[in-house]
C-alpha cells in the first residue's frame, strides 16, 4: 500500500483516497468548451437533466405499477392517477418528459447536422448519439405499452408485426418477440423488464460513451473552426481569458447552460401542469382489447415521420409488394442517419448556411421531415396516401443524393 500521511482537511482526506482534486479538474474545471457557441449547445445538458427526470419519475411510478394484463390498466388509471398522492404528477412528468426528450433530441441532432459536428474526427460522437436515439426510441415504445390501453396494445401489435416482414424467420420471430401468438401477458411483462431495466442500463452506458467520445475531438463551435485546445487552455490558465478561445466546462459553460435550462424547465413544467393532454392520447384511456381495433392507429408525434415512410408505399413496384417496400424504406430511414459522416463527402466543417450546396439539402430535409410528420398523423386515404408516397421517396432521394451534392460542393469550394 502507498504511504499515507495524516490529512489536514476533509478534502485532503478524500483526495488521498479518491484523487478528487484531479478528478474534478479533468471532468469539470479543466475540461474545455469553445467560447464561440450559442444556446443550441445547451441541448446535451438539457437531455441529461430530462433523462434524470424520467428516471426519478419512473421510480415513483414503478412502486405502484403492476405489469399484468388484468391489473396494469387500473394500476395506472386508478391507483396512480387517483389514489397515490401526486401520482398524477409523476405520470404527467413521465409522459410529457418522454415527448419533450424527443423534441430536444431532434434539436440536438439537427444542430449537429447543421453545424457539421459529425465530421472530421467527430464520427464516434455522432454514431454514439444515433445509438442513443435508437435506444430512446426503444425505451419510448416499450413504455408506451405499459398503461395497457387500446393505443398501447395496438401500437405493440403493429410494431411487433413489422418484424414479420423479415424474410424466412419473420413469422417465428414475431411469436418469439411476443412470447405468444398475439400481444399478451408474456409480451407485457417482457417489455416491462426492457423498459425499466435493460434499456435504461444500455442508455446510461451509451451516455457515458457519448460523453467520452467528446474528449478527444472536443465540442464543435459555431464557425466550425479547428484550433489547438491545449494552446487555448494554456492561455486561459495564464489569465488571458479574453484571447483564449475556450472556457472551462465548470463553472463558465455550465452556468450559461443552466440559464438555458431554466427557460426550458419553465416550458417543461408549463406543459406538465397545463398542457399535458398532448402526451395522453384519449384512445389509450380505453382498456386494451385484442378483439377490437381502434379506427385509426397512429404513433406519438416523434415517430410519425418514420411511420409515414413505413406506410408511404402502398402499391406494388416491380413485383415487390407495397408492404415490403415500406418495410425496406422504414429500415433505411432508421439506419441512414448513422452513416451521415460518410455520406457527406465535403471536408468543409461549417454551418450549413455557409456551405453552397449543403444548405439546400439541409432545408429540403427539414421540410420533408415536417411533411412526413404532418401526414403521418392523417388517415392514409386518397390524396394523403400520394403525399405520403412522394415525401417518402423524397426522403430516400435526399440521402441518395447527399454524396453527390457534397462531392460537387467540395469541388466548387476547392476551385475557388
Amino acid at each position: 500500500m502507498a504511504e499515507f500521511k495524516k490529512a489536514d482537511s476533509i478534502l485532503e482526506w478524500f483526495d488521498q483516497r479518491l484523487g478528487v482534486v484531479n478528478f474534478v479538474k479533468v471532468m469539470m474545471t479543466e475540461y474545455w468548451i469553445p467560447k464561440n457557441i450559442n444556446f443550441l449547445w445547451a441541448m446535451g445538458v438539457l437531455l441529461t437533466v430530462m433523462f434524470t427526470f424520467l428516471v426519478v419519475s419512473g421510480i415513483f411510478l414503478l412502486m405502484y405499477y403492476k405489469p399484468d394484463v388484468n391489473m396494469a390498466f387500473d394500476s395506472v388509471n386508478y391507483t396512480i392517477m387517483q389514489e397515490v398522492a401526486y401520482g398524477w404528477l409523476f405520470r404527467h412528468i413521465h409522459a410529457v418528459g418522454a415527448s419533450v426528450v424527443f423534441l430536444v433530441i431532434y434539436i440536438h441532432m439537427f444542430t449537429g447536422i447543421y453545424y457539421g459536428s459529425y465530421k472530421k474526427g467527430r464520427e464516434m460522437i455522432w454514431v454514439s448519439g444515433m445509438l442513443l436515439f435508437v435506444l430512446f426510441s426503444a425505451e419510448g415504445f416499450s413504455g408506451y405499452m405499459l398503461p395497457w390501453g387500446q393505443m398501447s396494445y395496438w401500437a405493440a401489435y403493429v410494431i411487433t408485426e413489422i418484424f414479420g416482414g423479415i424474410p424466412f424467420i419473420g413469422d417465428e420471430l414475431v411469436v418469439w418477440i411476443r412470447g405468444n401468438f398475439y400481444v399478451s401477458d408474456a409480451t407485457l411483462t417482457r417489455f416491462f423488464m426492457l423498459h425499466v431495466l435493460l434499456i435504461p442500463l444500455a442508455i446510461i452506458g451509451a451516455i457515458v460513451f457519448h460523453f467520452y467520445a467528446l474528449r478527444f475531438p472536443h465540442v464543435n463551435n459555431e464557425a466550425g473552426e479547428f484550433f489547438d485546445f491545449d494552446e487555448e487552455a494554456e492561455k486561459y490558465l495564464a489569465g488571458n481569458k479574453k484571447e483564449s478561445k475556450v472556457v472551462p466546462f465548470w463553472p463558465v459553460f455550465l452556468s450559461k447552460d443552466f440559464f438555458v435550462l431554466g427557460f426550458f424547465m419553465l416550458f417543461f413544467f408549463y406543459l406538465v401542469f397545463f398542457h399535458y393532454n398532448f402526451a395522453m392520447d384519449p384512445v389509450n384511456f380505453d382498456k386494451a382489447d385484442g378483439l377490437k381495433t381502434p379506427a385509426h392507429i397512429y404513433p406519438e408525434w416523434y415517430f410519425l415521420w418514420s411511420y409515414e415512410v413505413l406506410r408511404g408505399f402502398f402499391f406494388e413496384i416491380a413485383g415487390v409488394s407495397g408492404k415490403d417496400l415500406g418495410l425496406i424504406a422504414f429500415g433505411i430511414a432508421n439506419a441512414i442517419f448513422f452513416v451521415m459522416p460518410w455520406l457527406d463527402r465535403s471536408p468543409m466543417v461549417k454551418p450549413a448556411n455557409q456551405r453552397p450546396y449543403f444548405k439546400y439539402w439541409f432545408w429540403f430535409l427539414m421540410a420533408d421531415l415536417i411533411v412526413l410528420t404532418v401526414y403521418g398523423k392523417l388517415p392514409p386515404t386518397g390524396a394523403n396516401a400520394w403525399v405520403g408516397f412522394a415525401s417518402s421517396m423524397t426522403f430516400l432521394a435526399l440521402f441518395a443524393a447527399l454524396p453527390f451534392v457534397t462531392k460537387a460542393e467540395a469541388k466548387k469550394v476547392k476551385g475557388k
Binding site: 418469439w176 412470447g179 399478451s184 378483439l291
Partner: protein
C-alpha cells in the same frame, strides 16, 4: 519459449471454454424468450362442429383472434376454394377480422352475408369481399379436420388444398 507456448495453450483453452459457455448461455436466453408450453398448447383450438346450427354464426377464439364458423343451410351454395365439407355439410371457417382495418363484421342471417360496421365493408357467406373498402376476402386460418372436430392451428390436407387453389 516454453513459457510462450504454455501461455498460448492456456489462452486457447480459456477461449474454448468461454466460447462454449457463451453459446450455451445464448441458447438458454433465446429459449427463455420462447412462448411457454402452455401458450403453445393454447395455440390450437378444437371445435366440435356436429352440434352447430345452420345459418347461425359460431365464433371461436384462436390465438387471440375471433374465428367465424358458419354451417350452411341447404340452399346456401358452397364457394370453390373457400367452403369446407365436414361430414355432410358445408362450412365457412375464417378469421373474423375485416381485412380493411381489423374490425369484427357482423353476420346477417337473413341475407347470408357479413357487414362491417366500421366502414361499411360487406362479405359473402364464404367471406369474399363484395362491397366497400376491404381489399381482400377474410383470411382462412390453418385448420385440420379430425372427423367432425375442427382443429385450428394445424395445417390439414383440406386446408392445403384450399390454399393451393387460392
Amino acid at each position: 519459449m516454453m513459457d510462450e507456448s504454455r501461455r498460448g495453450f492456456i489462452g486457447k483453452a480459456f477461449g474454448a471454454v468461454a466460447a462454449v459457455g457463451g453459446i450455451a448461455s445464448l441458447i438458454a436466453m433465446k429459449k427463455t424468450w420462447d412462448p411457454l408450453p402452455s401458450v403453445m398448447s393454447a395455440g390450437f383450438t378444437t371445435v366440435d362442429v356436429s352440434g352447430l346450427e345452420a345459418n347461425k354464426l359460431e365464433i371461436a377464439v384462436w390465438r387471440g383472434k375471433p374465428v367465424f364458423i358458419l354451417k350452411y343451410t341447404e340452399d346456401m351454395k358452397p364457394t370453390d376454394g373457400r367452403s369446407v365439407k365436414i361430414g355432410d355439410h358445408y362450412f365457412s371457417v375464417m378469421i373474423g377480422l375485416c381485412t380493411h382495418l381489423g374490425c369484427i363484421p357482423a353476420y346477417r342471417a337473413d341475407q347470408h352475408d357479413f357487414k362491417c360496421a366500421c366502414h361499411g365493408g360487406e362479405f359473402t357467406d364464404a367471406g369474399i369481399n363484395k362491397f366497400g373498402p376491404p381489399p381482400r376476402p377474410l383470411d382462412i386460418p390453418p385448420f385440420k379436420l379430425d372427423g367432425v372436430t375442427l382443429v385450428l392451428g394445424e395445417e390439414g390436407p383440406e386446408y392445403k388444398a384450399m390454399t393451393a387453389k387460392a
